[in-house]
Structure formats: C-alpha cells, structure tokens
C-alpha cells in the first residue's frame, strides 16, 4: 500500500511544474507594480509641494499642494482592486478613514514634539491621505493659505514624507518577496487557482465596496462628511478612479482591443460574457459620471440620490457579472496543461484511489473539456497533440475495461510524459 501511494505521489509531484502563473505575472508586471511605483513618485511630488508650502505658505503653493494631493490620490484609488499582500501592512498608515479630527486638532494646538521620530509613533487615525487632506482643505474645504498655522505646515510636510516612506516600503515588499510568492507556487498561493481567486475576488470586491460602502455609507447616513475624501470634495473622483483602476486591471493594463489580461481570457472562452462585462464597465462608468459633483450636493437632492442609487445598481450588476461569470472562467485559466493534469488527477483519484469505475469514466468529461482548451495551443505541433490524444485514449479504454490499477497507473504515467512533451512543444 505504502509503495503504491509513493508512486502515486511521485505522479502528482510531477504534475505540478514550478512554472510562473502567467496571468498573475502579467498583472503584477503591467498593472500592480507600475501603479505602486507611480504612487511613490506622486507622493514624492506631494512631499515636495508640502515642503514648498511650509517655506512659503502662499495661495499658489497651497493650490499646488492640493493638486499634488489629488494627483497622488489617483494611483492609490486605482490600486484598491488589488489590495492584497503587503499593502495590508501600510494601508492603515496611508488611507485610514475616518480620521480622528479631534485628536489631530488637539495635537496641533498642543506642544507634542513634531519630529519624524515622534510622528512615526502616532496612530493611523491622524496619518495618511485624509489627515493631510483635512489640513490642506479644512473641514468645509474653504481653508485659506493665511489660515495655515506653522505647526500645521510642519505636520503636513511630516505626514507627506511619512506617506512616501510607507509607499516605498510597500513597493519594496512587493518587489523583494511578495512578487515571487504571488506569481509562482508558494506558501500563500500553492497553486494557480489560488492566485487567480486573489485576482478575481479582489476585482469583484472593489466593485462591491464602491457600491456598498463608498456610496452606501454616506447615502444611508445622508451625510457628506461620511464619504471618503469629503474635505477636498474629491469623493466622486476617488470612486471614478477606483472603477478606472478595476477597468485597467480587467484589461491587463492594455487597450481594450488588445484582448490581454483577464479580458483577453474571457473574450476567448466566452465572448458573450466578455461583451456583457464590457457593457457593465461602461454603464457603471456612465452612471458614476452622471452623479453631479460635488458629491456633498448630490446627497442633498432627490435627483442626486436617485443617480447614486442608479450607480449602485450598475455596480452591483457588474459585480454580479464578474462573480457569476468571470470568477469561474478565470479559475479555468490554470494553464490548459495544468487543467488537464488536475482532471487526470480526478480520474486517478476515482480509479486508483477509490476503485470507482463509473465515476472515473465520468471524470473523463473534465479531461475532454480540458483537451478542448488545449488543442488550439498545439495546432502548430500535430505530433505532440497526436501522441497526447493517443495516450489519453489508452487510459480511457483501460478504465472502460476495468483494467488493473497498476496498468492504469502505467498508462497515466505515459500521459504525464506526453503532457510534459506537449507543453515543451507548445512553448
């Protein structure tokens, strides 16, 4: 028994080639790392603007700092659809919402030392984007440059510099460890399906979050100060960038017609779903665009509220499409070779593991489906394809005839080799 299991293990071990996860890698290379790199650059812009503002608190410099804040906000919002991994450690220090306004005011009025070292010990509720936003705009967004007190100016600079540090640390954590764990078999994503789930669940998650929390919370409370980025009046722009980030992620950072990324895969597998999702993205974008700015005003009128609800419905619809169609389709993207391997594993589990002939035969449905995905990849290599098809037919016939487990196992090993050869040939 032990020996048989060991052989079966060897078979399974060999089915897991340590190759990269193509979609995860391409999204990390084309979308995730560029976005986080951009975030660092733009936060450095904010830090520079904060320094100039401290040196000369003129209306022009205040305006420049506000623009720099809004500019840095864009990559941050765009990253929210892939907020897994290291960002969990830095997000509290970058984007805690709401902030502790009372605590921040007390701190600024008091004599708490304002040094980088002292700042680093402050809690997340007085740090990050929204603390800086509050100080640049004031509660009602009407702050004048002349109202900026010296300690505020100092604090804005410290807070901006701290954000650069956090964004850099996040980028570094991605580059120096998480990238490798996300894009190939690792303790966090032992198989490709796990990485694909991470991608798709995050994408569906941000769409839901815009609807349920970002639009939903202020609508339920009927209070604009409940919305994210209320001081700058940037709430709607935040939400639009959340959606734009999700859209770019869906298209793999490419133009729509390039059929890359998640979109490319879905378009190839199920053009109908692709069309529906595309339409979902554009309807959602239109619905968000049609909420009149500023968001605070839209919340106060009947027609504004109706438009917010329309946007929520569009977002929910898009989320539903992504969850009901895209999540499952993308899961299938586990390279067609890996798909075939897992389907064969099902056959092997049933036949060799359980001795269930009819269930093993049923499992061949999955094998045939996987082959249908695989054939186009081998159109240039008819020999490799033929060898693989022949090896599979052998196994199926053996299973059909109720052959001895050892025989089926040997035939499966031939298939394993044929898959490996076909995979080489297909490259």
């Amino acid at each position: 028994m032990r020996t048989l299991l060991l052989v079966v293990f060897a078979f399974f071990a060999s089915t897991h080639a340590q190759a990269d996860y193509p979609l995860a890698k391409s999204l990390a290379d084309r979308v995730i790392l560029p976005t986080y790199t951009e975030l660092v650059t733009r936060l450095q812009g904010l830090e520079g603007a904060a320094r100039s503002l401290k040196a000369k608190p003129t209306p022009t410099n205040l305006e420049a700092a506000r623009t720099a804040w809004k500019t840095a906000r864009i990559p941050y919002e765009r990253s929210e659809g892939f907020a897994f991994g290291p960002i969990g450690d830095y997000d509290p220090l970058l984007d805690t919402w709401p902030i502790d306004r009372e605590g921040l005011e007390a701190l600024l009025k008091g004599s708490h030392p304002l040094s980088a070292a002292a700042f680093a010990k402050l809690p997340p509720e007085v740090r990050g984007f929204h603390a800086v936003e509050y100080l640049l705009w004031g509660l009602k967004g009407q702050k004048k440059a002349a109202q900026l007190r010296p300690r505020e100016l100092q604090y804005i600079e410290l807070a901006s510099a701290d954000m650069v540090r956090q964004a850099k640390a996040n980028l570094q954590a991605w580059q120096q460890g998480f990238y490798a764990r996300f894009t190939r078999p690792s303790d966090l994503y032992p198989n490709e399906a796990a990485a694909l789930d991470e991608i798709m669940r995050g994408l569906a998650g941000i769409i839901a979050e815009i609807a349920d929390e970002k639009l939903g919370n202020p609508l339920r409370a009927n209070d604009p100060l409940v919305a994210e980025s209320p001081f700058s009046g940037n709430s709607l722009e935040d939400y639009r960038q959340d959606l734009e980030g999700a859209r770019l992620y869906y298209f793999g950072g490419q133009a729509a017609e390039q059929k890359a990324g998640i979109a490319g895969w879905i378009a190839a597998q199920d053009p109908g779903s692709h069309t529906a999702i595309l339409r979902g993205f554009s309807l959602t974008k239109e619905a968000l665009a049609s909420i009149p700015a500023p968001f605070a005003a839209a919340l106060q009128t009947r027609s504004g509220q109706a438009r917010i609800k329309t946007a929520q419905a569009a977002l929910q619809n898009l989320r539903g499409l992504l969850e009901s169609r895209a999540v499952g389709l993308v899961r299938k993207q586990q390279s067609p070779f890996d798909q075939l391997r897992s389907q064969l594993r099902a056959v092997s589990d049933e036949y060799i593991g359980e001795g269930e002939i009819s269930e093993a035969l049923e499992a061949f449905d999955g094998v045939h489906a996987a082959m249908a995905n695989l054939r186009p990849l081998l159109s240039q290599n008819p020999q490799a394809l033929q060898a693989l098809e022949q090896a599979l037919r052998n196994v199926e016939e053996l299973v059909h005839s109720g052959a001895a487990a050892a025989e089926v196992k040997a035939a499966l090993e031939v298939v394993t080799q044929s898959i490996a050869q076909a995979e080489q040939a297909g490259k």
Partner: protein, 431 residues
C-alpha cells in the same frame, strides 16, 4: 467531489446568489475561493434581501471607529482595536500583535481577581490602546520563551510560550493576584452554523465523567446570558457566551469601548445603534466557510484516516446537522463540518491560563473548529498563529501543545513516523 465538479460549483455560486438555491450538505453551501478573501463570503443560500443585509454588515465589520465626528464616533477612550476587521483579519483570526503603530492590538488580555471578580479600575479586559491624549490601562509586551522538543524519530522541534509583561499606565506592574489570559481573535466565519446546531446534539457529545473511559470528557459551559438565564455557552475561547448577539455586543463594548443597546458603557451611554449591532451580528451569522482544497488527494485522504486513528476527532467532531429553528432560514438543516464539539476540555498545564471563566476551569478550553484552517497563512499574508494566545506558528506546533485529555492524541502524533505526520498536516491544510 472532483476538481471538475468544484469548477462547476464556482460558476454555480454566482447563479445561486440570483436564484437563492438551498442545498443541504457542505458542498452546496461552501465557497470556492482559495484567496485572502476566502473567509469573507456570504452563505450562498441567502435571499437577495439578506445579501443586501450582509453587505451592510460587511461595512459595519470594516468600519473604523474614532472618538468623535460624523462617521463612526464613540471609540474608547480605551480600546484594543478600532474595528472588528482590525482583529479578525480578513474575517479570520488575528496575530498576537500588541500596540502596533499601524494595527493597534490584534490580541487582548483578560484579567480578573480570584473568584471571577473584576480588577478595580480595569474590569475584566485590559485595554492597551487609547485615543490620542488619553491613557490606556497600560502596555502589553509579549516575550516568547523557546521550548525544545523531539519527535520519537529523533527529529527536533521548537515551541514557544508567551511571557506577558504588563506595565500599568502609572508604570507599575499588575498586582500579583490578578489572573490573566492572553488571547488572539478567533475566526468569525461559519459561526451562524454553530449557533444553529441543536443544543441536544452538543450535549449528546458531552461525557463529563468519562463514562466511556476514552480519556476524553467534554463538558458544556453553562453560562448566564444578558437576561440572567442559564444557557449553553458556544462562543468565545472558553465557550462563555451563548449567542452571537451577545458575543458581538460584548466585543463592541470590551474591544472598542463602544456602548451599545445590549451592553451600554459604564455611564450608560449607547454609542452604536441597534441597526449597526444587528448588521454586524447578521454578518457573523452568515459568513460562509470556504470549500476544502483537494479533499480526494491520496495524502489528504491518508491524513484524514490518521486524524481519526489518533483520536483527534473525539473532540474535533467532523460533522453536525443544524436544527430547524434558527431565525435565519438559510442556517437550518445544513450538514456542516466544523471539526469541533463546542465543549470544554482539560488541555493540560502547558496550555492552561489558570483563570476560571464561568464553569470553565483554568485548564479548560473549548475545542476550536478547524474548518477553513488550511487557508490561514494565505489570509494572514504569510504568518500563522494558532491556539488561544497565538503561540503556535504552525499547525504542527499547535498539535504538539495539546495535553490533558488530548495528551494521548498528541503522543500518537509525536511518535508517528514522518510520513503519517505529513499526511495529517496535509489533511489539516485541505480544510
């Protein structure tokens, strides 16, 4: 169930949301997601209206509280964390982190005086965080003490045990007579199903006097609920809470300093609405359990057999069927696989906190459910922490800490050959 069928389910779940199918049995109601969001999905058999309610609950669970202002006021002034999700990371467990500048504290320290009396000035829970400008009860520092051990085959292992160093706000240590219990936040998903298990089914597993002589007793913790009624405790690490409403309301008050309709704060203040409390409770009741990965893998199957042979499932009971009277219809008549009996067991001196809680002694702990445990590392982003205080950094360490009633099972593991140990761990990782 094969991989093929599971792929089909992945597609089916989304459709299920729309039509609200009700399937009895774990595969129909589990979620196919192996990502860091795996613990955060609603039961697929909720009605569309309940799915909306779940989304509100999700927002409530993630809401960051602050001391004042329009949005989420009322925090503290002393607390352990500022949101539910701050400790229940990704709807799962927390790490033994205390006083982290970005994350506050994901664990906490229960305190009491002998006779289950509150500690003057503190109460039953030490709050090591406070809003800016206010003093917390003090600070908690955990020093880890390494302990070396050896498998029967000679291969070494290392365990670690926490030494808690408490410094009060006035700079003094805790008085020596104070009993303490260090805790990490347990996972939040699947709890509605546990609430829906019939009491009789749980009591049927109890064997307080070990009449079947298997070395395993298993006692219910009878606790007084908020109205003074004696009920079966199911939630909390010592099963000291009867239902999720009380569990959630207590967490709002004790972990975040938020007075609420069930438990107002000491001055009688109510800082979160009934609506918010209900939303959060509904959320914890309807968070689903992720599906197993590779349950048919031969090593996993071997591990499942080993799990039974070593006696693990005397307490980690694989299967229950929920009753038909829970107020949430989606929770009724479901076959579930929690791997827990929800009873108290003497786990030996090594794990004891020496702090009685209700009828639970200082050596007793409630069997924690094991479902979903294999995704812990993915959800926590590369770390693991098991047992009540997060001392175990791997599942292997967690097993090796078992003692008391579980001593024999632990010894079976410790003396087993490596391939069987690996198989058992593969089984646990598949949950």
């Amino acid at each position: 169930m094969t991989v093929r069928v599971k792929l089909g389910l992945g597609l089916g779940l989304g459709l299920g949301l729309a039509v609200g199918f009700a399937v009895s049995g774990s595969f129909g109601v589990e979620i196919q997601d192996e990502s860091s969001r795996a613990y955060g999905h609603p039961l697929p058999n909720l009605s569309p209206q309940q799915t909306v309610q779940f989304a509100w609950g999700d927002a409530a669970f993630n809401a960051v509280f602050v001391r004042s202002g329009q949005l989420n006021p009322g925090l503290g002034p002393r607390f352990n964390n500022t949101s539910c999700a701050g400790c229940h990371v990704g709807d799962g467990r927390g790490l033994p982190i205390f006083g982290d500048v970005a994350k506050h504290s994901q664990g906490l320290l229960r305190v009491s005086l002998p006779g289950s009396q509150p500690v003057p000035g503190i109460g039953f829970q030490f709050k090591d965080q406070a809003v800016l400008g206010a003093d917390p009860h003090g600070t908690i520092r955990v020093k880890w003490v390494e302990i070396k051990g050896q498998y029967a085959d000679g291969s070494p292992y290392r365990l670690r045990k926490p030494k808690v160093i408490v410094t009060l706000a006035n700079g003094k240590p805790l008085p020596a007579q104070v009993q303490t219990s260090l805790r990490i936040a347990p996972p939040s998903f699947g709890r509605g199903w546990l609430e829906a298990v019939p009491q009789a089914e749980i009591l049927a597993q109890a064997d307080p006097d070990d009449q079947n002589h298997d070395g395993i007793s298993g006692r219910p913790n009878w606790v007084k609920d908020r109205s003074g009624k004696t009920r079966l405790g199911r939630f909390g690490l010592k099963a000291n809470t009867a239902d999720l409403l009380e569990q959630t309301a207590a967490a709002y008050l004790n972990d975040m300093g938020l007075g609420n309709p069930v438990f107002p704060d000491e001055s009688g203040k109510v800082e979160i609405s009934q609506e918010t409390l209900d939303a959060a409770v509904f959320y914890t009741q309807t968070l689903a359990v992720p599906a197993r990965r590779n349950p048919r893998d031969p090593q996993v199957k071997q591990g499942e057999a080993v799990f039974a042979q070593m006696g693990c499932q005397s307490c980690h009971i694989p299967r229950f069927v929920t009753g038909n009277d829970h107020p949430i219809a989606a929770l009724r008549n479901q076959e579930i696989h929690p791997y827990s009996d929800l009873l108290l067991h003497d786990m030996g001196k090594g794990l004891a906190d020496g702090r009685p809680d209700g009828e639970a002694s200082g050596q007793e702990w409630r069997t924690p459910p094991l479902w979903g445990i294999g995704l812990t590392r993915t959800v926590l982003g590369g770390e693991e922490a098991y047992l009540h205080d997060g001392r175990a950094r791997t599942l292997e360490e967690a097993i090796l800490w078992h003692g008391g009633e579980a001593e024999a099972a632990k010894e079976a593991f410790r003396t087993a050959p490596k391939d069987l140990r690996e198989a058992l761990l593969a089984f646990l990782r598949s949950l």
